[in-house]
Symmetry: C2
Subunit: 258 residues, 2 copies
């Protein structure tokens, strides 16, 4: 398996065609079966998903959250930012000492993934509205330029329970399933494997994040080549619902008390 950053992408602006910009730069290096990962930041920029704090008139709930965080932690929270997070979310899993929410497309992350760096001329960069549709548009755009059969993953970086540090995850994908299903497969001695479903889009996103870097030197698109999904069954379930997530159930009953 080989990962190659797409070199020399320009600063992305609203309306930019990511498929075209990538295709111009990788040309013959994208082959059928390859995977292109694209950081959500540039997808959001191309889709004009910028916003300003003044766009968010503060609701009672947002004011409450900002007050609570102000009281129970050292951090001053702008209630307009809390409002922006609420508007991007369908459920608030943690409201203090930070905001952990489920976004409208099912991804669970801090602050609904809203970024306050990386956004020239505006206060906020929101995640793409429907990242799998964004991935499909880029895949289609590549196909229109003669680059056939390439899967596209839109990636984000976020933290997680139990383990320090952030890692790359997938928030949207097209042209491949999210997971490989190993159920029923056997080990060398014929025992059924304990592993069940392998989240390959997350693993590809984590791998890509090792070569994208961050900040000024970052390369937000990566080509994965010489890798094969294999002939296992695939699944497109990636985001857990409350019903099959004990941690979400536990968080519903829990409250931070400083």
């Amino acid at each position: 398996m080989e990962l190659t950053p797409v070199a020399d992408l320009p600063e992305i602006r609203p309306g930019d065609d990511i498929a075209a910009l990538v295709a111009e730069r990788v040309d013959d290096d994208l082959e059928p079966g390859d995977v292109l990962t694209v950081a959500s930041t540039i997808v959001s920029k191309a889709e004009g998903r910028t916003a300003d704090l003044e766009d968010y008139p503060v609701s009672g709930r947002a004011q409450e959250i900002a007050d609570k965080i102000g009281e129970l932690t050292d951090e001053e929270k702008d209630p307009r930012f809390a409002q922006a997070v609420l508007e991007e979310s369908t459920e608030l899993l943690i409201d203090c000492p930070f905001l952990l929410t489920e976004t409208r497309f099912g991804h669970i992350c801090v602050n609904a993934g809203i970024d306050r760096s990386n956004v020239p001329g505006h206060d906020l960069l929101l995640l793409p509205k429907r990242p799998s549709e964004s991935a499909e548009r880029i895949r289609q755009g590549l196909e229109d330029r003669g680059v056939e059969d390439v899967a596209v993953i839109v990636t984000d970086t976020c933290g997680r329970p139990f383990r320090h540090g952030q890692r790359g995850v997938a928030i949207g994908w097209a042209g491949m399933p999210a997971s490989r299903d190993w159920r029923g497969e056997r080990d060398r001695d014929g025992h059924e494997l304990e592993v069940t479903v392998q989240s390959v889009v997350d693993e590809l996103s984590a791998a890509a994040n090792l070569v994208t870097g961050e900040g000024a030197g970052g390369t937000p698109a990566v080509v994965v080549s010489d890798w094969d999904f294999g002939d296992l069954e695939g699944s497109d379930e990636l985001f857990r619902s409350v019903e099959d997530d004990l941690v979400r159930q536990a968080l519903r009953e829990w409250e931070f008390d400083g």
Copy 2:
């Protein structure tokens, strides 16, 4: 970045020298700066970390857990297995409908990572006792064979809250820090980045898991080449303590009720 599975490793037996077996097979392909990932299953086998259910006389707590799981779920739990999990753990985060624990070396996973497949002639394969020490022994073994300056990661696969599917994670590492610290770095416009610490050992483990496969066709060791940690600060914190993990705090107050 390139990932190459180590081909033709034999079935690993107690006492086998993984560094020697790998060095014989990759020879000149391991270069200074490369990373070798090794699946915990073969590390455990080499270290003789097999066990049988009859080795675990059942304590009252283990019997209670098995009874509770039997009552509240459809699953029959062997109390000897619950006992094995307890003996490998320092804290039980969830006791029903499955066992989520913190292992003695700080890793949080289901069933303390005990595997019931992959273990010829025995019932159970336990995780390595101190995986970072295992990684260091392999690193040292490679050095003794003239393979200098190679980092080693011992990997596991496990599930996680919020997202379906398993992915590769690091449980031990040597010769490199666990994480890159981006704090204070800036984006193209000079804004401080929101990303803080990037868990590169987890990302490398996830990447490796894409090419190791599982079961009979699995290749449990992978060489990562043409990748560079860079000149950022490193950190060796990987496992969160209760104090900085709100999810662990929430789980302490929560109980499954069927």
